[in-house]
Symmetry: C2
Subunit: 256 residues, 2 copies
Amino acid sequence: MWCQSCKEEYEVEDAGTCKECYEEASETEEELKREIDDLRARLLFLRLPSPTLDAASAPHSDLLLHAIPSCSSSGAGGDGGDAARAPYTPAVPAHRVILASRSPVFRAMLENEMEESRSGIIKIFDVSYDVLRTFVHYMYTAEALLDEQMASDLLVLAEKYEVKHLKTYCEKFITSKVNNENAIAHYAFAHRHSAKQLLEASLSVLMDNMSTLADREEYKELVEKDPRLVVEIYEAYLNRQVNTAAGKDTDCCSRK
Amino acid sequence: MWCQSCKEEYEVEDAGTCKECYEEASETEEELKREIDDLRARLLFLRLPSPTLDAASAPHSDLLLHAIPSCSSSGAGGDGGDAARAPYTPAVPAHRVILASRSPVFRAMLENEMEESRSGIIKIFDVSYDVLRTFVHYMYTAEALLDEQMASDLLVLAEKYEVKHLKTYCEKFITSKVNNENAIAHYAFAHRHSAKQLLEASLSVLMDNMSTLADREEYKELVEKDPRLVVEIYEAYLNRQVNTAAGKDTDCCSRK
């Protein structure tokens, strides 16, 4: 028989689908691709020019956001030093209508008679200028260039301002980077910020490497700082063992 | 053989694909669906609340748009009568940053020292209030509830303000509604507004029904108003006939 897709010959044992299903699947694929094209065009239409590119890119701006790095993190971002000397600069321009529509926290701040609404100035604490800029850029474009550090910093900011979509986006990115080296750090981070997907992924990696867990420096630190999280790792591990054993028993019984 | 997709038995002559291609296609389908989910989530994030729903739905609004229906069309929209009595009401609130980002015409108007930019009031001529409201709604949401009349009115507005995505959206909708009854009207409309896809679709329907074309009332009107468009129909028809004949000849020759 000849495969209608790859046009190569195959034997009965390598058969896949009947003609009807093949044709249906091809049609479905075409439909999905058309839908993707349509969604992409709508996305392109809805994206807004980011006001973070240069001074000229924010006409009609009615807000200024100031990054106020925390003392401990002031050296981390590229502009941390500057910001420490002049805590309110540089500012990121933005628009009330955009921030209010993306974040219920900004909405409440801007639609009530709060200081930020009157002055048009919002201080964003404990972030570097770079992180704030990326945060604002995302609000306009739904796009961000991430590395692990940026994704973590943005996730924290997204959680604080309740920008769910950005939080999920960062969590997915970090989850894709979990490995045995960073699993403890990500596990503790996920706990702090209620990032369920990241928590499960890092816990799973930890449980796959239980024999070396206790030797790690980060493990010892976690036992010191937050022993309850360590207990949860052991509990999850034990649970998995019990379930695996139960699964084997059922398997065994069903075979009898 | 059993089809891996529908799980039914089939004969050799009904075979579709090999196993490998089936598995690949299934994976592709899953990937496309994941991409669609991702794009939909980003769209949902980028959509803005429409300021056209009620007075409270446009906080931070810095623009007012007024529909000024033309005399001839003032009876067409639901609010035509009202608008004729009080030409500047009702107004549709909007935001400079949004309109400027969707339309180069609004951008030029708002970023230069024009009357509209100073006053924050833009008059939109020759449209009903309903059409203007739908237009503004689309600028925020990339969504509109269309019928043929609304799609035509919106297409005209989208062309005027160079909102390409909306024009394409309306043109697609109208194209899907072309039939022998409305083909002449849509053909003339497509010509006036450089709507290529609609032009081709309506021309194709006209050419499929040439024998009854000249009997139609709309045909006689078009001959009166714009005979060059009628000439183009005949030229296209003749062209098709010549090409079909040439195709048959080639077909004939290659068979010899």
